[in-house]
Symmetry: C2
């Protein structure tokens, strides 16, 4: 790395933040980790990654922080927290960001940037990062990586919003960071298009894992759940189309086939449900449904799934 | 009762068979009960009914039988078993039926008569009986009656199939039996119409009670489940219409409002699920969906619910 190498901050070092932060640090980047409950464990023992792809990796010592005020200003901020807490996160991001920093929300769902944007300094660039990855936390500072890893990036808002060339350069720069860490990454022409793409996977698998109480293997082995997954994927593609984003039907087939080759995977919403945490229903269901409806498009299966999950979310916690 | 009073056989003395049999016997009818596992308890202690409407009633002694061969020939046979066992039931019904007897299936779902019909003597009349009632079994020979009681009847098949006047007379005769026992009953012009009517209630409440793990009170208190119930009811009305049966939208509103006034009720499918018994998915979901689809009508929410329940049914038992 040269002296111009950007400083990277990881905000929320769970499975997602831990994985990408460790991979970037291992590639030689100057990475700083903000932690809460796991600060002591990570300071003492470092970050552990058990990966079916990269083997067992250990980062130690870790540039770990319990308070944002102690962190140096960062050029890139990768946010791995839940989208349900984005508004509360704004002061932390503003505090840690270097002038003109890029904030990447490594979160699922539609328009998760919107609630945050109003609370961020206008000079900061806000990007969406869509992670195609199977990871989960197995203990303090311990991340299990089951499969994949790709991050697709799209520009959301900031001072380059009206300058396509500069916008594209920022997104390409972000993709290049991941490439240097051995991670696939694609610069997408629009953050909305990128987020609708990811919804093709999230809408069926996240919700059904809660409703059916199971992981991807059982869902992919049963004729009824396979049909339901495919029908839900088709509705997401239809909703995206109504909102002006073209996703080819072959993309849904690809996601379906890809899930078939994966080891059993329990989506994040399954873990949230088991641990009685709020489900990310607004980002993954309510906002896409509202956007489609505003475009005159009904998505009845997705709506029924959302209504059932809303009931469960309210009664289970 | 006169000597012409018909002899009534109750086939399957669970909550439904027990309730109607006891009420008919109490009204003076000659009622004979076929039992299986509860034969000894009912022979010894009789049948108990704890009803919010009729108070605590006790029928003792009971004309109870463990074997169909021991029963006298009956003019009316009321069948309270699960629709999933109808084919196996045919020899029993043929054995117990007096010449020209009327067999009434007190079961939910569409076309539950079809599988049985081919195995019955042609001289027997087959009717559908749709019970609007909240009952459950709380012990051997003990029935808890929470609410309602109406039985709507429709002629399915038999030697009066092509004789509308005779068909109507038979259905009216059946309704009169229930009336004499203090039970509301309506003769319906078509068993299919009667069954589609009942589906307006069964499709949402039975399936959602399993999916959401709850009874009617919680479902009626939550905005999301209320919307889902209403959307499912509207789909059933639409499916009935496609199949040539008109159900006014006000009927769905009525069922919804009626459920709101009921004490908490756990539908039969909830109990089947908890006891790991097969769910009545063919009768309540698959056949109505197939009939609607054959008429060119898609019911996406009902189909999604059916697919989720099919998965649960296969994996839970």
């Amino acid at each position: 790395m040269t002296e111009q190498s950007p400083r990277i901050g990881i905000i929320g070092t769970g499975a997602i933040g831990g994985f990408y932060g460790l991979m970037l640090a291992r590639a030689g980047f100057d990475v700083h980790f903000l932690l809460r409950s796991e600060y002591a464990a990570v300071s003492e023992h470092g970050l552990h990654l058990n990966s079916t792809v990269h083997g067992a990796l250990h980062l130690h010592p870790v540039q770990a922080y319990a308070r944002a005020a102690d962190m140096p200003p960062c050029d890139w901020l990768l946010v791995g927290t839940k989208s349900t807490g984005n508004v509360e996160l704004a002061p932390t991001l503003a505090q840690v960001a270097a002038p003109g920093a890029k904030v990447v929300l490594l979160q699922n769902g539609l328009d998760v940037e919107d609630s945050l944007r109003a609370h961020l300094p206008p000079s900061l660039h806000l990007l969406g990062g869509l992670c195609y990855i199977g990871v989960h936390r197995s203990g303090p500072g311990v991340v299990e990586h089951q499969a994949l890893g790709r991050v697709n990036l799209g520009y959301h808002s900031g001072s380059a919003a009206n300058d396509e060339a500069r916008r594209n350069a920022i997104v390409e720069e972000g993709a290049a960071l991941f490439h240097q860490a051995g991670i696939e990454s694609q610069a997408m022409p629009s953050v909305h298009l990128a987020r609708w793409h990811k919804l093709v996977w999230n809408v069926p698998y996240n919700g059904l894992s809660v409703l059916l109480g199971t992981g991807t293997t059982a869902m992919m082995a049963d004729e009824s759940s396979r049909e339901l997954i495919q029908a839900l994927m088709a509705e997401v593609v239809k909703g995206a189309h109504a909102c002006g984003h073209e996703i080819p039907a072959s993309y849904a087939q690809q996601m379906f086939a890809m899930t078939e080759t994966m080891d059993d995977y329990l989506p994040s919403m399954y873990h949230d449900h088991v641990h009685k945490r709020p489900l990310e229903l607004a980002a993954i269901y309510a906002r896409p449904l509202a956007a489609a409806e505003a475009a005159g498009c009904e998505l009845p299966r997705m709506q029924a799934l959302y209504q059932a999950l809303s009931f469960i979310d309210r009664h289970h916690r």
